[in-house]
Structures are given as C-alpha cells and as structure tokens.
Amino acid sequence: MLAVDDLSLDIRQGEVFGLLGHNGAGKTTTIRILNGILDPSAGSVRVMDLDPRRDGAELRRRTGVLTETPALDDRLTGRENLEIFAHLYRVPANGVDATVSDLLDKFQLSHRADQRVHTYSKGMKQRLALARTILNDPELLYLDEPTSGLDPVASHEVREMIREWGDQPHRTVFLCTHNLVEAQDLCDRVGVLERGRLRLLGTPEELTDHGDGGMEVDLLFDPDDVARAWAALKERVTVVSSSDDFGRSRDEGGGKMQAGGDDGNKARSRSRGRNRNGNGNGGRVTVRVDARADIPALVDLAASLGLPVFGVVPQVRTLRDVYLSLYIDEELEEDVRDDNDEGPDAE
C-alpha cells in the first residue's frame, strides 16, 4: 500500500511546522520515515544532515517523538517511565534523577510521580508522554496528534506546553494533526497531506489569504437600511452580498458567493455560510476591501452616506476553510472521475 507518495518537504530550523491531514493521510508514516523506523521505497531523506536509514541511532538521539498513543507502560510509575527513557536517551547517569524530577515538576505530575500510570487520567498520560519526549532536549520534536482525545482543558495545557517548549530558535517542532485550530494556533508553516501527497504548503496566512491580499467585511446595519446601503455602497466599493433579518439576500454577480453555484465554489460557500444567516445582528452588507487597514475608512464612508454601522465583522478565512475546501474539491474530483469511468460502461 502506498502511504506517502512523492512527498517533498524542507523544514526550517526553529519553526513549528504542521503537517495536516485526516486519518490515513500518511502523517504517521512520514514521521516514521523521517526517524528511520520505516524505509521509504524510493527517494531520499535528510534530517539534520543525517540519513535516517544509515544514521538512525544518531538521528534519534537528537530527536523526540510523541506517538499518537502515549505508549507509556501502565504498570510502571510515572517516574519509572521517565527514568528508563532517560537511560535510553543517555541522559548523564548522575543527572537522571534531577532531570526526571524537573520534568515531573514542569508538567505538574510530581504529586503522582510514584503512582502507576494506569491510575492516571488521559491528560496526565499525555503530559507524561510529552515529558518523556523532551527528556533528551531534542533539537527536533515530532508530535503526532498531541491533543487527540483530550478534553478542552487538557488540550489547552498540552498546547501551552508545546508553545513554551518550541519558543526557542534552535528547537524545531514537526506537528502532525487533523486539529486545524491547533495548527493555525501553533504553526509557522503548514503542509496539507492528502492520500500521501502534499497538496498545500505555506504559512497559515498564505494559505488563508484570498489570493489577492484582500478580505471580506460584514457591515451590520439596521435591517431597514440594508437595501439603501447595498445600493449606495456598490457604487463606491466592491459589494459582495447582503441580507436582512428576514432571510432576503442578494449577491453581486460573478458567482463568487452563490451557495448553489458551480461545483468549484461549493466548499467555500458551505464553509463561509456559517454564522452568517439569521444571526440576529440585523441587516448585513458584505464588502470586499484590499486590506484590514481599509476598514475604518469603509465605516467612515458608510457614516458619511447616512448609514449608521452597528457592527463590523471581518470575515477571516481559517485553515479549516482551506482544508475543507481542499477535501470537498477532492471529493468532487473523485465524483467526476467516477462519472467519467462509469460513462462508457453505461453506454
């Protein structure tokens, strides 16, 4: 089975790089290849100038990997789990006790350090696993779904720990996740892996940019003013759409926001549609601006036209939108391919 296909990636020292993709996209396989515990069938891999196939032991001495499951021995205590891995990572023998105690403190586990891990909560296990992963102060840290299955509080704690640890220029973090909020929150750059292929690569800002550097802004008016605002503003700025509290809406031409428009825009329409209908904020006119800095002037313009603005909601495109549009586009492409494949048979 082909898990990762023609993947070409350069990770920069000091960055937090996020590899996004849903289950089975090839994220874990990528981590395994990068650490020399799986051999790629073709191509070459260099990590910190080392070949994982040839220099695996040396490479793994300088990296840390948080696996998707904590992979802790439940029958050992938290302290024993860390002590054993401290020896495996060659932490100086006379420094093992101090290193382990420091980490237990840092990860707020000291009070349970001498209890067996099977008595720990999921969040505690994940924190312990994270502590184990940085025992050797790795230059490159791989995190495979670090907050998967954790409750919001535990997820927040783990994210803060990752942020704090990665906040050093010599430390690089390679984060595999399908949690897009987490990726947007933590990552300097992200790549989107889809069926083993890298589909997108860039900073979250680059990926969420509309392409021309512009953005859309919802101006909230009294519902009675919406029609007048639409008419007045479209003469002066790019108006995309509008709606009042009664569900009546209109779109500017060009198909950009047509919910029932062409297939290519279906994903965007679906993702953007959230929170924008019947939001109880009165009438809305959506306007495109070149930059965030243009928003005050836009509000002033509306005011000068006698249109009081009750609220301004910049429509920020998130990684979630990008990811979903990619995923849905992929589904649509597949549907088209299936239709094409079925065509001749049907005839």
């Binding site: 395994r32 020399g36 051999d39 992979a71 021995d73 029958r75 054993i84 891995f85 495996l88 990572y89």
Partner: protein
C-alpha cells in the same frame, strides 16, 4: 553489547513482569507445584513402596532392571522404599524440573516481545537511539535472566524440600547428585534459550501476548518427550545423557534466537504497527 540503555530495558521488563499477575503467576505456580507439592506426595508414596502389590502395580521392578549401570550401582543396597524415593525424587523429577525454565522463558518473552506490541509501548522504544541489536539483546536477556534465576532458585529450594521430605525414609542428605548439577547449570539454561528462541520467532508473527504464550508453549513438547521417555524406560537421565541433550538444545535454541535476531528489525516491526 551491554550498555546502560540495555540494562534499562532489562530492568523495565523485569519490573513489569513482577507486577503482572498473568505473567508472574505461572512463574510462581509451576515451581510450587513441581518442587513443593509433588516431592511431598512422592515421599509419602515411597513409604508404601515395599508393598508387593504396589510394586507390581507401578512396575517398579521392571524400572529398576532397566536402569543404567551407574544408576543401578548408586541404589544398590537400598531398601525398597529408599529405592523408590531415590528414583522418583532424583531421576523422575529431573525432566519435570525442566518445565520451570521453559515456562518462565516463554511467559516473559511473550510479554516482552508480543505483549509490548499489543500494549503499543514498543513504538516508543523504536524511536529511541537504541540500535536493533541492543534492543534485541536487551529483550532476550530480560527473558533469559528470570528463567536462569528461577531455575537455580528452584533447584536450591528443591534441594532442601526433597531432603527434608524424604528424610524419614533416606535418613541422610542424598540430593543433589552430579547429574542434577549438570542439569541445572547446563541443560536447564539450554531449555530456557530454546523456549525463548521459539517464542521470539512466534512473537514476530502474532499480535497478542496470549497468542505468543500459547504458541511459544509448544516448545515444552520436547520436554514432554523426555518425561515420557524416562517413565517408559526408553531414555534415562544420567550425566552423559543430560549433557548430550543440553548440547542439542543449545544448538537448537541458539539457532532459533539467531533467526529471531534476523527478523527483529525496527523497519519490519514498524510496518506491522
């Protein structure tokens, strides 16, 4: 070969074994049954060995007639009860004793190799700087060491139990003899290594501790043949025979362990995780 990291794995595996009832229980029960309960029963039974009907029933005279020269010599001049006690406790128990290192090696190796895979703790070990060879050696030693230690410990306990239990009949310290020394320090370790090698090979192909334990336990079959052979008079444990069986088992065991080492590659293991 044995660095700090290797010892850390051995230590971990031993702690885990001692804290796991499913693993520790067979390690305790088998020696207790074989080395405490059985000797006492045999010693009591020896008290009835002079009864002609019992001798006929157990075919003791045929067994005595089939003994090799040196063994026959060692029991010459003993009473019927003493002959029975000596034969049962020294010779018939010898192949049974081999079950102890075998069971311990299979149980610990199944837990250490397949069990670790099943609990998904192996992956974290694969990401450490430990080489495949060091990891394998650590795992092998962590299974061998308890088997050796339990074997020798059991022998010491058995020495005391058997001399005490049979004291009313033998009225002297009669155990161990040379054959048992060779058995404990040569044959028993070879049985442990053979059992370990079989379990390591099996563990590479199964995903659970139970499956590895059950299939690995098939290694006791040669021991059962030895037990049956001895009871049937086909094979009799004396020092040269014990040494020879040990040599065969060492060759087989080391071969199996080396085959296991060849298949123990993290790149192969990771493909099955």
């Amino acid at each position: 070969m044995l660095n700090r990291a290797t010892w850390a794995i051995i230590r971990k595996d031993l702690i885990v074994v001692l804290r796991t009832k499913a693993v520790a229980l067979p390690m305790l029960l088998v020696p207790v049954l074989l080395l405490l309960v059985l000797p006492v029963i045999l010693s009591i039974a020896a008290g009835y060995a002079s009864d002609p009907s019992v001798r006929a029933e157990l075919d003791i005279d045929r067994l005595l007639a089939s003994l090799p020269g040196t063994t026959a010599q060692s029991i010459k001049g003993m009473s019927g009860e003493q002959q029975f006690a000596y034969l049962a406790l020294v010779y018939l128990m010898a192949p049974l004793f081999l079950l102890i290192p075998s069971v311990v090696a299979v149980v610990v190796a199944a837990d250490s190799f397949a069990g670790e895979k099943e609990r998904k703790t192996l992956e974290a070990l694969l990401y450490t700087p430990l080489t495949d060879r060091h990891l394998f050696v650590a795992k092998v030693l962590s299974a061998c060491m308890p088997a050796f230690v339990v074997g020798i410990g059991s022998f010491l306990v058995y020495s005391v139990v058997v001399n005490l239990a049979a004291w009313p009949i033998m009225e002297r310290v009669f155990f161990p003899n040379y054959m048992w020394i060779v058995l404990v320090f040569w044959l028993a370790p070879s049985v442990a290594v053979l059992s370990l090698g079989g379990t390591v090979l099996v563990s590479a192909h199964v995903g659970t501790y139970q499956a590895a334990y059950q299939l690995g336990s098939l290694v006791v079959l040669p021991i059962l043949f030895l037990i049956i052979g001895q009871v049937q008079g086909l094979l009799f444990f004396d020092t040269p025979v014990v040494f020879l069986i040990g040599l065969i088992f060492w060759i087989l065991g080391v071969t199996l362990v080396l085959l296991g080492a060849r298949s123990f590659r993290r790149t192969r293991i990771a493909t099955k995780m």
